[in-house]
Amino acid sequence: MHAIVAIKQVPDTSNVRINPETGTLIREGVPAIINPYDAHAVELAVRLKRQFGGKVTVITMGPPKASEALVECAEQGADRGILISDRKFSAADTLATSYVLARTIEALMAEGPVDLLLFGKQAIDGDTAQVGPGVATRLGLPLISYAVGVESFDPIARTGVVHRRTERGIEVLQTTLPALLTVEKEIAAIERAPLADVIRAAQYTPEVWSASEPVAFDVAKIGIKGSPTIVGKAYTPPPKKAGAAVKVAEKGVASTVTEALAKVKAAGVVKI
């Protein structure tokens, strides 16, 4: 079995700060983490490897620092990490990103058969959820997004049954392999890696691929050139001002609550 997992290193958004003057992100001091959903995708791949044998390859397109994230995947049990990194890739939107990842996966598929492509449901820095479906479309492979469980997986018969969460419930879908899944956290709970794996990972150096080696990417389709969308303007939502407060002690509970309810209603956020 060979599973390829696409991961992204993202700033831990719970720690993100914005420079109020420039409206830009202060990345300094903000820890970079593996996109949480992607870590669960890696875990699923590693579990399937333990069950069926084979290998797990992790790929990421990002700056040199993103190599740390690949090392963390190696801790989790991934066998190979590839960092696709080049100045020319920078400022890529999801269209350009899915092009680079799809071509990378094609190159890996040329090396040998691949059974499963795993993506996170979305990256928490941009929350777009577009890259996985984009790659599946480019590769012409079946797509199952928002996957929450793998009911069965048969690399010999090349079929699998996957659970997918939608608003109306859990869809149970059968697919041929290889297929591309974008996963929710429930797909596999992350277990602590054995110490030996952590030691091995600490000594592992991921491969680095550039825009020309070993795959020559079409420069018109990568980075800013290959990205139809551009950020016109970025700004911080105006900081919330503290609203008024009423004191039960002064007005009595009934009229305090009436007043508060009126405020909620006036804001028009929910109907009471």
């Binding site: 700033p11 958004t13 719970s14 993100v16 914005i18 939107d93 999801t94 269209l95 899915s98 820095d125 941009g126 929350d127 777009t128 959820a129 577009q130 479906p133 984009g134 479309t137 480019r138 492979l141 079946p142 199952i144 997004s145 939608t166 608003e167 109306r168 419930g169 869809e171 879908l173 059968q174 990205s227 139809p228 969308t229 950020v231 016109g232 970025a234 700004y235 911080t236 939502p237 919330k240 503290a242 609203g243 008024a244 407060a245 009423v246 004191k247 039960v248 509970v253 009934a254 305090t256 609550v257 009436t258 508060a260 309810l261 405020k263 909620v264 804001a267 929910v270 109907k271 009471i272």
Partner: protein
């Protein structure tokens, strides 16, 4: 036809029922059309035996509906839907294409955009026409709501965006409406589709709480005094169609499951209404709630930091305030209709 600028809206349907976000988008499309000379608002509808929905779309302002009706489209699957719509896009070259940012819509829009090689802005909360460039300016929150970004797509067409349900107002439908129905073939058979739906397990309304996406959250902290306090919060949450959340202090104390924890080490939430009862509002908690549209805080300590982010505060004992709140809401309901999340 050269000067006609088509603004398309995906009429999302499942099991023959249209998703309300489709109407919100038709409303938005009409506002955009008013700013864009030569623009027309049209719907795109796919499914199996769904023609009836087109009539509804006319009432919400679509002048034309492109319909692909085919048994292969009986249940939603990415490949045939994306294939069918991409063909429509290539044939009719819309200027703008709006899709709801639902599970279905986000899955589908990305595949369409990739097929027609255009830009797609995800999960927008605001749409406008840039007055100088006459193109779509789609605004969306990024970085956990810390930053708003306005995205433009200058070169490729259509300009695509998915839009969050319920952030745009829902228009009132006209009594009657008429439009043109354009039927197109799918051009694909069941044998071409690799993914088969075996069954659907309906969501049970039990412990599957998704507080991250809840519209109303009633959260409690150590001020509840004891785990039993959550019963009161549950009652209020149920009344408002919301869910119960918590501060870390009470999760650590074992009063409630960690899945409810909000804040730096818990979940970041963006409900329309957040009620904080007996929560001091430490910075680690606050970072998780500032994306809320309206925060109502109840705390006996007038200096509690939660008041600094609250849209409205009540200084008092939550055990006095909450029962009164529940009573007053019930009393008002007795007068009016059923609860509903406002489309405002």
């Amino acid at each position: 036809m050269s000067d006609t600028k088509r603004i398309w809206v995906l009429i999302e349907q499942e099991e023959g029922k249209a998703h309300p976000v489709s109407w919100e988008l038709l409303g938005a499309a009409q506002r955009l059309a008013a700013e864009l000379p030569g623009a027309v608002v049209e719907g795109v509808l796919l499914g199996d035996g769904v023609e009836g929905i087109a009539a509804e779309a006319y009432r919400y302002g679509a002048t034309k509906v492109y319909l692909i009706d085919d048994p292969v489209l009986n249940v939603y699957r990415n490949a045939p839907y994306a294939y069918g719509i991409a063909n429509l896009v290539k044939k009719y070259t819309p200027e703008i294409f709006l899709v709801g940012a639902t599970t279905l819509g986000r899955d589908l829009a990305s595949a369409i955009a990739t097929r027609v090689a255009t830009g797609l802005t995800a999960d927008c909360t605001e749409l406008a026409i840039d007055p100088d460039k006459h193109i779509l300016a789609a605004t969306r929150p990024t970085f956990g709501g810390n930053l708003m970004a306005t995205i433009l797509c200058k070169t490729q067409r259509p300009q695509m965006a998915t839009v969050r349900p319920r952030v745009l107002p829902s228009p009132t439908p006209a009594e009657t409406g008429a439009g043109e129905l354009v039927r197109e073939p799918l051009g694909m058979t069941e044998a071409d589709v690799a993914v088969k739906l075996l069954k659907v397990i309906p969501t049970d309304s039990g412990e599957q709480v998704d507080i991250e996406y809840a519209d109303v959250i009633v959260a409690g902290g150590r001020g509840l005094g004891a785990p039993e306090g959550f019963k009161l919060l549950e009652e209020l949450a149920e009344l408002l169609g919301g869910v119960v959340g918590a501060s870390r202090a009470v999760v650590d104390a074992g009063w409630i499951n960690v899945s409810r924890q909000i804040g730096q080490t818990g979940k970041t939430v963006r409900p329309k209404l957040f009620i904080a009862a007996g929560i001091s509002g430490a910075i680690q908690h606050r970072v998780g709630i500032t994306g809320s549209d309206f925060i109502l805080a109840i705390n006996s300590d007038p200096n509690a930091p939660i008041f600094s982010v609250a849209d409205y505060g009540i200084v008092g004992d939550l055990y006095e305030v909450l029962p009164e709140l529940i009573n007053q809401i019930k009393a008002q309901r007795a007068g009016h209709g059923a609860p509903e999340v406002a489309h405002a």
